[in-house]
Structures are given as C-alpha cells and as structure tokens.
Amino acid sequence: MEYNLTQEQALFRDTTRDFLEKETPLAVVRELAAGPVGFDREWWRRGAELGWTSMLVAAARGGDSISGNGIVDMAIVAEEMGRLVSPGPLVPVNVVAMALSEASNAEAHAEVIEQLMAGTAVASWAVYEPDRGWDPGSIALTATRDGGDYVLTGTKDRVDSGDQADYLLVTARLPASGAAAGELAQFLVPATAAGVRVTRDESLDLVRRFATVRFDGARVPAASLVGAPGEGETTAAVARQLQAAVALQCAELAGAAGRVFEFTVQWAFDRYSFGRPLASYQALKHRFADMRLWLEASQATAGAAARAVAAGGPTQAAELTSVAKAYIAERATDLVQDCVQLHGGIGVTWEHDIHLYLRRVTVDRALWGTPAEHRLLLSDILDV
C-alpha cells in the first residue's frame, strides 16, 4: 500500500488483517472451497460492521470513509484480502452500492443500499455476456417496456458471487425503437424474481464463485431502473463501475503478489542447496530483484488508479485504471509463476498454498477487462 497511510488508515488495515487472519485464514479458505458456498453470510455481515460495504456509497446516501477517499480506503481492504486470498463479494457489493447511491434516482433504492451497507444483503453486477469479452457496446440482453414494467430477456455470465447475490445490477440495452432507442439502461433485480435463473459456474478460484444468470422474460417494475436511460448517464455509470472494480481488483492483485513474494523470499533464505541458501545465488537474486521492482511499480500504479477514481475526473480515472490493470495483471501472474518455479516441485502441489494465490491472480487477470482489453481501451483514450 501507500508509504504514507494515515494513522487511521493504518489502524483500519491492521484491524482488517487481524480479522481476516482470525476468521478466514488459508485453512478456512480450503474448507470453504470444499463446501457449498464461497463465503459465510454472517462473516460478511461482520465485515460490513468493520466498514467493508459503506465506503463507496455516496455521502448523501449514508456512505462514509476513513480518509475521505472511500475507494482508497477500500483498496486497503482489497489488498489485505489479496494477501490472504479471502472469500467474499467485496468488489461486487461495493460496485453495486456505489452505482445505486450515485444514480440520479438513488432515493428509490435507499432500502437496498441500507441492506448492502449492513451486510444483510449481497448484490452483484451482471454485465458480461457469454462469448464476449469486456464489451458494453455489444450488450444484447434487452429491456423492453411493457406498461409500468420492463421485461428482461438475455443471459449474463461471470457474475461474481452470483450464486449468493440477493440483488443483481443488470446492464441491459433498450430496444432499437422507442425512448432512448438502443441505449444502455441498468436495473436492480431481485435474484428471486420470476424468470431469473441463476446457475453456478465452475471457477479456477477456490472460493470466488461465478454464476450465469438467465433472464427469460423477467418482469421488473420501472422503479427498478438505476439512473435514467439516455443522455449518457448509464454509459458514464458503466465506465465508473468498471473503474471502481478495476481499482479494487488491482489492489487485490498487488496484495496477493506481495504476499507470495514475501513467503518466497523467506523460502529462499531457508532452503539450502550445495551448502548455501537459494538466496545466495545471483541468478535467483536477480529474479527476486525484478519481482521486487514489479511489486513496487504495481503498488505505485494501483495507488494512482485508486486516487484517480476517488478524484472523480472520468478521463483520468479511465486512463489510470486501464494503465494499472494492464500493467499489474501481467506482472502478478508472472511473479506468482516465477515463485512457483523458485519453490521447485512442491510449487505445483495441492498441499502448498501458492496455488491458492495463483488461482486468484489468474482469475483477476481475466475479469474486469484483460490486459489486452485495457490496452485497447487506453488506445481509445489516447486517440490513436
């Protein structure tokens, strides 16, 4: 994290770390992996009490923060969760809570915002569609006006914690004729609504579960709209939601890679070969130096991205989140793989903890825009 955390932020980090170490150490993560749910709801509710769910919520809707910059503070939590490959819907809940609270009709969603902040409800953002990468322009799930309702038809996948979500923020497209023709619109949909079918997917991560959600003519009242379609509110909201997700994800990546680096350095000091520790071999020292560089640069760029999202300028937030994701995601997977190599054969066993981290960074790399997708987004911003 930053070298200049405030005292309050440092305390927040320590409290978070203590809680995670006590409640969901790696042994518990492995147990959850074998179980039916990726995270315990009561654990999540206690996390909400610690502040995990209210910092991206607009102040006018009851949000608060440690430092005045909610996303920077949440990045601290995300990093700690990376360090312990924690379970839980940190990114989806925070992104949805933020989206609801910043929408032009936030008042309509006050109750759900309260529940999300209390940790009694879980929400996730349903935006990806099958066989497509990050491409909001190609969203095909339709929302058709019918009287006082909208009817949703289509499929969303890669819904983070979708199997435990009580609410889904669904990004849909309005029909090609009519009001705000062909524009994006977002809806808050209860997972139990008729016509909504949630199917749990397989996942490389042991506890981060994803779901595919089918909407077969699911009917939702017009009051489910999040913001007003047309005039760019939804397009801007989708971009901002992505930026928030990426900023938190980058912090998680830095945390996971950082922890792997730490225990691998320790391994290099402890493990002897030919009468001297691995850490005394220059070829390996140089690789550790490279990894240390990547970590330092990753922290630098993740921090800058979080600050840019907090500061609110959309172009800078877009640029710096894409810079951060494109850089960190590739370095993090390279780093963890290098550390697998440095461990020798035990690095590819189930028993060793490193694969928990490799799974997390690999999943993070692929979601909320791959490095290549972010480079392309960046090229658009640079007006190439």
């Binding site: 930053e2 070298y3 200049n4 350095v265 290099a268 000091f269 001297r276 520790p277 850490a279 005394s280 220059q282 020292k285 140089h286 550790f288 130096a289 490279d290 240390r292 560089l293 330092e296 640069a297 922290q299 630098a300 760029t301 921090g303 800058a304 640029e319 710096l320 894409s322 810079v323 494109a326 850089y327 290549a372 972010h374 480079r375 392309l376 987004l377 960046l378 090229s379 640079l382 007006d383 190439v384």
Partner: protein, 417 residues
C-alpha cells in the same frame, strides 16, 4: 528560513519571466533531450552557458540549491513547476547531467565551505561545467577497484592513470575524479575524490564515437596531473563515501528522480523513448491506426511511461518516509532501463521496415538507431545487473556475492588482462 514562496505563485512568476526572456523552440514540443544529445558541438555548449547565465541573472538557476551558493533555496515541487513552464522554450539541458544533478550535489553535500563558495555560484551561472572522472577502461561496475594513482607531493597530488565514459569532458571545466591514494589499504579504504581542473597539462581527452555517431563520451589520459590538496572533496582515503553519494545522485538523475534537473519538460529517462504522440502519428502515417495490435503496442508504450512516473513518485515518497533505504534509487534505475528496452522494441515493431531503410527524409531512421543503442539505457549510470544486486542485497537483505578482493591490501588483488 524566511517564508518560502508558494508553488503556484512561483509558477506564475516563472511563466511571466520565461515568456519574456527565454527563446522559444523552433518546432512545437520539440525539446532536445538532454540525454540524447546527438551531435553536440562547441556552439551548443556556448549556448547552454549563455542560457544558464540568463537563468542565473533572472533568479531561476539552481532552484533547489541553497541561496548562499547562488541557488533559490526552493523545493522539488517548485522545480517541477518551473520545468513544466519551460515546455516549448529553449533551456540549457546540456548542463543538467552531470553538472547540476550529479557533481553539483556532491560538492554541495561534501565539499568544504571554500570549495562551495568558489565553485557553486560559477556552476549555477553557467561559468563552470562539471564532469565525472570515475569509470576506468579496466572496469566500470567495479568502480572501487580503480587503479588511477595519486601521490602526495607537498601541497599537490600527482595523478596518473586513465578514465572513461566521461560525458562532455571536452567541454567541461572541472571533474570529480576518484583516485587511489593508498595501495596497502583494502580497496574501498584507499580512495580519494579530487576536484580536478580538466584543461591543464597532463590531461589528454579523446572523444569516443558511439555506434549511433554520438561523440559525447570521452576517454581521458592522465599523466602526472597536478591537483591541489585543497581540492580534496571529503577526506583523504575517504573518497569511497563521496563516490557512493555521487552514485546515489547518478541513479536519481538517470532514473528521472533528481530535483536538480531543470527544463526538458519532455526530457529525462521517463520520456526518452518516442512519446506517445509521435507513435500515434507513426501508426496513422503507416496505416496501422485501426490495427488492434498496433493500438495495443502504442498503449503499452504509454502505460510504461505512466507507471514510471508513478514509481518515481512512490519511491521518492518511500525514501522520504524512511520506509525505503537510499539504495532504493536502484529500483527506479532498473525500471527505467527495462522499460526503455521494451519501448524501443515497440517503436521498432511499429515502424517496421521504415526504421531500417528508407529514402533520405522519409521513414523512421531515428527509431532504428534508437533500437541499436537500446542497451545503453541498461548500462549508463550503473548497469541493470548491478541494480539487481543492490536491490536483492540492500533491500531484500540477500547474501552478498563472493568477492576476491574483500579486506585484503589492494596491491594483492588479482587483475585481469
């Protein structure tokens, strides 16, 4: 210290002065890069000195140097603001490295009061240009193993040996010259740093031609050169501490983190590779602007320069907060080298055949040449291999390399061919 002018009012004052006094550059945004000097001639050095005099008289020389030695006594934030305001104007970039950012700070931190008062104001006014006499033909990375000897004779040292890779020595007035004064001490403990007048009997300077035609680097042959004892910087036989501090400044200067570099709003290692606007122009010109691969490469080049800026800010903050050791400059240095290599590769990839052959005035020959010289970014200012040693040993605490010359009299150390 009296109240320091706040950065924004300094910026506005500088902006006014710059507009009224500094010459505009002929082409927009075409600041010559202080590192990539190309063919620099005597006229360029004269111009640099004149511009520096202008800055000195205007009260904008040595922004972070103390006032009592001719500087402005301000902060890195002020210097950064001034540099930003000079974009599009001609600045004496030749003087940044090593004069202002390496040799000057060494004098400032370790020189005697007399040395500082005699030299620093002249340095800041452009009258005195400084150069480094450190590396020797027998070795650059193993700096402390140098063999240029200095023998005390009354109130002078008599110096004989050879130095190499001194950038701009032919145009310099004084050199910070590291010599061996005690051959029976172990290697680090027999060194002395001298401030040597460059153009004097016994100093023969030969320019070295690089593969890109650049002739800024020099080799110096020292034959019984006299240096007054009063020109010792630091202690006799205590030169390694001075050299270490000089290398710290060099790492900062090379990596882009020095507060003493002025101007070159696009210069410095962070932007030495083709800036994104030039790459954008290239891909449009070559019909690649809608090719996703080309777009990705342009974006990657840009993101590396962004990350470098962010890394520099972070490492500087970490060192200031004392959460990183001073040797953390090696982190900046390593990133600079590795990212420069990648960016040269990206530029070459995008330029295609136009980088290797084209009619005169067409194509992108500069990109081809930059690619040829690409390793220089991993060599100058300390190799990236040495940076990795520093990071692994001084930051990660890993065991140091075996050395064949530790703690034995230097006269007994094995030398190669």
């Amino acid at each position: 210290m009296s109240d320091t002018e706040d950065v924004e009012s300094f910026r506005l004052r500088a902006r006014e002065w710059i507009a009224a006094n500094l010459p505009r550059l002929p082409e927009p945004g075409n600041a010559p890069d202080g590192e990539n000097r190309g063919h620099v001639d005597d006229a360029a050095w004269l111009r640099a000195r004149e511009l520096q005099r202008l800055l000195y008289d205007g009260g904008f020389a040595g922004i972070c140097y103390p006032r009592e030695y001719g500087g402005q006594g301000l902060t890195p934030a002020h210097q950064k603001a001034f540099t930003e305001e000079t974009a599009g104007y001609e600045m004496p970039l030749l003087l940044n490295v090593p004069t202002f950012s390496i040799c000057g700070p060494v004098l400032l931190e370790l020189g005697t009061e007399e040395q500082k008062r005699e030299h620093l104001p002249r340095v800041l006014s452009g009258e005195e240009v400084l150069v480094q006499f450190l590396s020797e033909p027998r070795g650059g990375s193993d700096l402390a193993g140098l063999t240029t000897r200095a023998v005390r004779d009354g109130d002078v040292f008599i110096v004989s040996g050879a130095k190499i890779w001194s950038s701009g020595a032919y145009a310099a007035d004084y050199a910070t010259c590291l010599v061996r004064t005690d051959w029976e001490a172990p290697k680090h403990r027999g060194l002395t740093m001298l401030l040597m007048k460059v153009h004097q009997p016994g100093v023969t300077i030969r320019r070295i031609k690089q593969l890109d035609g650049n002739e800024e680097f020099c080799e110096e042959f020292l034959d019984d050169v006299e240096v007054p004892v009063a020109n010792v910087i630091g202690e006799v036989n205590g030169g390694w501490a001075v050299a270490s501090r000089q290398l710290f400044h060099e790492r900062n200067a090379v990596g882009g983190g020095s507060p003493y570099v002025s101007g070159g709003a696009r210069a410095g290692s962070a932007r030495r590779a083709a800036p994104v606007s030039a790459l954008t122009e290239l891909v449009r010109r070559t019909g690649q602007a809608s090719d996703p691969r080309a777009r990705e490469l342009v974006a990657e080049s840009h993101l590396l320069s962004r990350v470098q800026e962010q890394l520099i800010d972070r490492v500087v903050a970490g060192m200031q907060a004392q959460q990183l050791p001073p040797t953390a400059g090696a982190v900046i240095r390593l990133f600079s080298g590795v990212s420069s290599v990648r960016r040269a590769e990206i530029s070459l990839e995008l330029a295609g055949a136009g980088a290797v052959t084209a009619p005169a005035g067409a194509g992108d020959p500069a990109i081809g040449v930059q690619f040829l010289m690409r390793q220089a970014s991993c060599l100058g200012g300390g190799s990236t291999e040495m940076a990795r040693n520093i990071i692994s040993e001084r930051i990660l605490g890993m065991p140091r390399e075996f050395a064949g010359d530790r703690d034995i009299p230097f006269s007994q150390v094995r030398q190669g061919r």
